[in-house]
Symmetry: C2
Subunit: 286 residues, 2 copies
């Protein structure tokens, strides 16, 4: 028997999927965050754990691992030295490949064919793949990058709400909602900011979308600014010469209705998820 394993190791969760050579799913698993930021000494055991959980479900023991062709997509793999360090680890598999989590998402979305994806989640990043060569746009991190991401929407929400609190712009139901969330305590908001991560800011993203739908002028202006970034992203992606582009991530669906027709009609639906992409990379023929 030959087996195929795909792993998607990201900032919020790490998932695995094991199939036979016909693509039949034998086992799958999910654990918490396992990305490059935690360092290889912490990352490697987690990658093995999520692998073992999927193998257990499939009834495979460790002797069978030598029949497994594996591919791992890892968030933040571009950190200096990490790819090399992973390749230096003793592999229990028949074959093993590593790449970024954005690349497996792209491969999955287009079933291995050339194409591009724009991921709109806590962060935002575009990934373009032409003749097996990869390129990214954005995704450099918050707050220097990742326009139109959840974290960016959250930061803009707080900025606008403080301006409204000052009387520098008009107060709206949305800006009041944000300030009330901090119990109208601006010093508390400042203390919150001192420790806030991109994930904390991204909690406000659904609020912006919801208020925008209700017609709140401040939320609407933030969404319009995000839409301008997204449409520019998509234009630049097509200028790179790809034929297909998918919008992905938790904010893809909420933003779709806001895009102009001449942009949204260029977008393609995704043909698979990131684990499909990792399985293709591991050698599975779909």
């Amino acid at each position: 028997m030959v087996y195929f394993l795909g792993v998607d190791a990201g900032g919020s969760h790490c998932r695995s999927r094991l199939t036979d050579q016909n693509g039949r799913i034998l086992g799958s698993a999910e654990i918490g965050a396992a990305n490059a930021r935690i360092g290889i000494a912490n990352l490697w055991p987690l990658l093995m754990q999520v692998t073992e959980l999927a193998c257990q479900e499939a009834g495979l023991n460790k002797n069978d691992w030598s029949s497994v062709h594996a591919a791992f997509g890892i968030a933040g793999l571009s950190r200096p030295g990490l790819q090399r360090a992973l390749e230096d680890m003793p592999s229990p598999f028949a074959a093993i490949r590593y790449t970024g989590d954005d690349e497996i998402a792209n491969i999955g979305a287009h079933r291995g064919h050339d194409g591009a994806i724009l991921i709109l989640g806590t962060g935002s990043i575009a990934h373009i793949r032409i003749d097996g060569k990869s390129e990214t746009l954005g995704g450099y991190g918050f707050p220097i990058s990742d326009e139109a991401s959840g974290a960016w929407l959250g930061l803009e929400s707080i900025r606008h709400s403080l301006r409204a609190y000052d009387g520098r712009i008009q107060k709206t139901i949305f800006t009041e909602r944000v300030i009330h969330h901090f119990s109208d305590d601006i010093l508390g908001l400042v203390a919150w900011m001192d420790a806030a991560t991109a994930t904390d800011y991204a909690l406000f993203a659904p609020w912006v979308i919801e208020a925008g739908i209700e017609g709140d002028p401040v939320a609407y202006s933030i969404i319009q600014k995000a839409v301008a970034y997204i449409e520019n992203f998509i234009e630049v992606i097509f200028q790179k010469g790809v034929a297909r582009c998918c919008l992905m991530g938790g904010l893809a669906a909420p933003f779709m209705p806001w895009l102009s027709n001449h942009i949204s009609c260029k977008l393609s639906p995704s043909q698979g998820d990131a684990l499909d992409g990792a399985l293709i990379l591991s050698g599975l023929k779909f």
Copy 2:
């Protein structure tokens, strides 16, 4: 003899000035940062140190301190409990008052009369004083606030430079200069961001101004956005009912030529510095 002491305790330096009852300067001193963020246990000895240095220069020993009327302007004094904690400290002075560093700057700028100031430095904050009552606009911290500040200019510089690096906007001499500063190493730039403070971002502020003067379109667009914030700040300040407003801080002079005439003609020159303000608050008649 009666003496007057003013202290300006800020995020980057802490200064003191001692005068006689005629306003003649007898001593002055400057030490490093001494603001509310470091906590009262660290702050109090620094306030006493900068006082002692000015008194030594004036030839005063500690027995003379009981003839000193003192006022301290402290950055971040609004942190919960700090004012009370300072007032509970045993005072060696004839009289002692505490307020924010923005308030003493305002009092100094208008020689104790009602007025407003907009401080454009590493951060930005407006302070308005009418009938002895204070109000502030902005100044909630970076990155949620402090538009048009040095830190804000720096963040915008990096954001635009990364967009240009991606090909999402046109590269210019300015965006290339910013990327070259990080040795064209985007991963290095991301690592820098992980640890960067408002002060680190503010290092790019003079670059934006300089490139804007040279006509660089990206730097120019950042300056125009900052100018819109500054002009809105000033409009809102005058709507509060003050007759005079001064632009202050390290970025005041660089921004003056960019403001429209109908705004800049409303601005007044400053009549004194923050230490003058603290001395007025301590009871000195100018």
